[in-house]
Symmetry: C2
């Protein structure tokens, strides 16, 4: 994987310290952190950091395909620098979010040993037939 600075330059994003650290942090931590968590963890080493900067940076990284966002219905958004196709399993007891690298149809039969599946939710995003027609 290219370094954070290389990834930013490739996406034509100016590699500020804050952007590099946030992207690095997301790549190192695999815990799908929220804006709050990222801010709390990085603020001690970057005194000028604000939650708004964290949020804006994540939006920028997301628009450029360097991170994805997860909404598990908890009332806040989590972020993940692993943009390869995978799905997310949330434990209803500990709240942990696990990366699961398999096709949705394999979920029930191939889950890691010991995991108990209770529900899956699939959301698709795109353009409906009517809007696709209107917008050419």
């Amino acid at each position: 994987m290219p370094s954070a600075i290389e990834s930013l330059l490739t996406s034509n994003i100016r590699p500020s310290i804050q952007r590099m650290r946030i992207l690095d942090y997301l790549r190192q931590k695999k815990n799908h952190p929220t804006v709050e968590t990222i801010f709390n963890d990085l603020a001690p080493e970057i005194p000028t950091l604000s939650k708004t900067t964290v949020y804006n940076t994540l939006q920028l990284l997301k628009e450029n395909g360097l991170v994805i966002s997860l909404d598990l219905g908890e009332g806040y958004i989590r972020y993940d620098a692993d943009t390869s196709p995978h799905l997310h399993f949330e434990c209803e007891k500990c709240g942990g979010v696990f990366d699961i690298f398999m096709a949705p149809e394999d979920l029930r039969k191939k889950l890691p040993a010991g995991f108990v599946l209770k529900e899956t939710r699939v959301y698709a995003f795109g353009v409906c037939a009517k809007c696709a027609k209107v917008n050419g």
Copy 2:
């Protein structure tokens, strides 16, 4: 399908006017409304209705498996009285949410004519191996 009053009684929920109307409304409308939309549509005919009552009723219906909730990352929750397995397609232009009755793996090849798929997100919910062990 049983009537709203029958469904409530079967679930041991006291069939108040408000509960019956909210469940009926969700079954008639297929537009995946929010608390706000339901409140605005029903308040004229039920003057004692409050947003809190709508919210609490939806939670009660959800806990009893009579409705499901959808979180499409818009910052609010939508509700759906169709609890059969299906997935949801959100149009990025008009914001409409469409019910799609197919397996996730068929999404790309069998979408309704004219629909353009850009992204799918799959979330799984259950218990992780560690918590399953701890909790017996």
